[in-house]
Amino acid sequence: MIHVESLHKKFGKNEVLAGLELDIDQGGIFAILGPNGSGKTTLIKTILGMVIPNKGTISVMDLKIKNKWRYRQDINYLPQIANFPGNLKVKELIAMIKDIRQKPSDEKKLISLFGLEPFLDKKLSNLSGGTKQKVNIVLTFMFDSPLIILDEPTNGLDPLSMIRLKELISEEKAQGKTFLITSHIMQFVEEVSDEIVYLLEGEIYFKGSIAELKTKTGQTNFEHAIAAISTHNKND
């Protein structure tokens, strides 16, 4: 599904990705974890083509993505900060993205799932953070794409919407889709993900299942295992 080879990215003097290698197979949920500033968002943005790497290649579905844009037709992306053009109404924004993607979509189901009907005629600048995130989720999930990238999907969501989101993710996963998810909520990660990709200082420090991680660190609790893997490295 995704193949990343010796990826380097510097912002000024700050080296964010240092020769990162990654293979993501089709199907399943991959959680990208790591401390703040470890390059999670940068990795996601290079896969999307929003950040241009200094070195290295990325292939999405066996296609090198450098200078390409058409492959994004097969990716649904949920950005970390839900900032939208403020003077658009919710339904105008949805119509606009549909118009741009030119793909079949089922936004109606999602709008009712998250109870967004009363907000359709409201301007985006007047919505609360949580409601914006729901709109963000609708925009991400309304198209049928094989690869779905979620950057902090739980931001600002109430418990009910959180449950809906998890259901939605498992439904899509059952259809054989691939997910890349970043999150700081370990409970959420433990519940949904099949595999952990742990980033540290711009490289993959660990890749494997949660069970493997627990054995490796000798911890029984997932959150402690993640904490252990970070401190483990510091002591090296």
Binding site: L48, M50, V51, W69, P79, P85, G86, N87
Partner: protein, 271 residues
């Protein structure tokens, strides 16, 4: 399956359309349009003569159009940052996003100018008058100045993450071309008084879109006698078809180079 080129163009047109409507909905577009409408009516009633109104109008347009293009360009770029980031994750080519936004802004500004001035002049009976060519040239240079300064503003904003800096540089660029350039030009004419300066003045005029527009209109209005000896030289050059073609080419270059850089820089930038 529609061809590749076709898909690219339609996606750019879509972005253009959304940016255009977005601006058309904003209060400032109306203010800008109403300002020209009012200016057109007032000038026609005060001057009672079409060609004099055109001269006054020229003086306003030559300074105001670049300023508004600069400010709107910078403001729109920074304000639509979120929109841009949303679009960058969609299957659209980067240059289509930025060119679409640019033409949306420049297009709506040009429309405000052409309609705002066109309506009062048309009502006044422009189409039966000889001034129609002068007036058309005025609108054409106005459109060029909008395209040029919006493109320059987009370039400055794209290269500056810091809004305050970007805004400052853009206003400085306007100030330089609208005011300081002329000052330097005049000073050099005085300092090098003893040398033949004909070709120097011609070239210096060509390199500033504001000066170039002003010269073009003044010569079209046939009041170059007011410009003295240099005027005669200018008339010899700009008055001919060759001069006119050269000037239009320079204005085109002034438009194409920033637009090209816009798409070049946008392709390589991280978001």
């Amino acid at each position: 399956m529609p061809s590749r080129q076709y898909q690219l163009t339609t996606r750019m047109i879509k972005i253009l359309k959304y940016s255009f409507y977005d601006l058309m909905r904003s209060r400032w577009s109306y203010v800008y349009f109403l300002f020209y409408l009012l200016l057109g009516f007032v000038l026609l009633f005060l001057n009672n003569e079409l060609s004099k109104a055109v001269i006054t109008l020229m003086n306003v347009i030559i300074v105001l159009v670049p300023l508004i293009g600069t400010i709107f360009g910078v403001m729109y770029y920074y304000n639509s940052k979120e929109f841009t980031e949303l679009l960058l994750a969609q299957p659209i080519k980067r240059s289509s996003i930025f060119l679409g936004q640019y033409f949306g802004v420049a297009g709506s500004l040009t429309m405000s100018l052409v309609l705002g001035l066109g309506i009062p002049f048309a009502l006044y009976g422009l189409f039966e008058s000889n001034a129609i060519w002068d007036f058309s040239l005025l609108l054409i240079t106005g459109a060029f100045l909008t395209l040029i300064f919006t493109a320059v503003a987009f370039n400055i904003a794209l290269s500056n993450e810091n809004r305050i800096k970007g805004f400052g540089y853009a206003v400085l660029a306007w100030l330089f071309l609208a005011v300081i350039y002329d000052g330097l030009f005049l000073m050099s004419l005085i300092v090098f008084e003893e040398y033949p300066l004909d070709s120097f003045s011609l070239v210096a005029t060509m390199f500033n879109p504001i000066d170039l527009s002003r010269t073009l209109i003044l010569l079209k209005l046939d009041i170059s006698a007011l410009l003295g000896y240099t005027g005669a030289i200018f008339k010899q050059f700009f008055g001919t078809n060759f001069g006119l073609v050269m000037s239009i080419c320079m204005l085109l270059l002034w438009t194409i180079i920033p637009v090209w850089r816009l798409s070049y820089v946008a392709k390589r930038k991280d978001f």
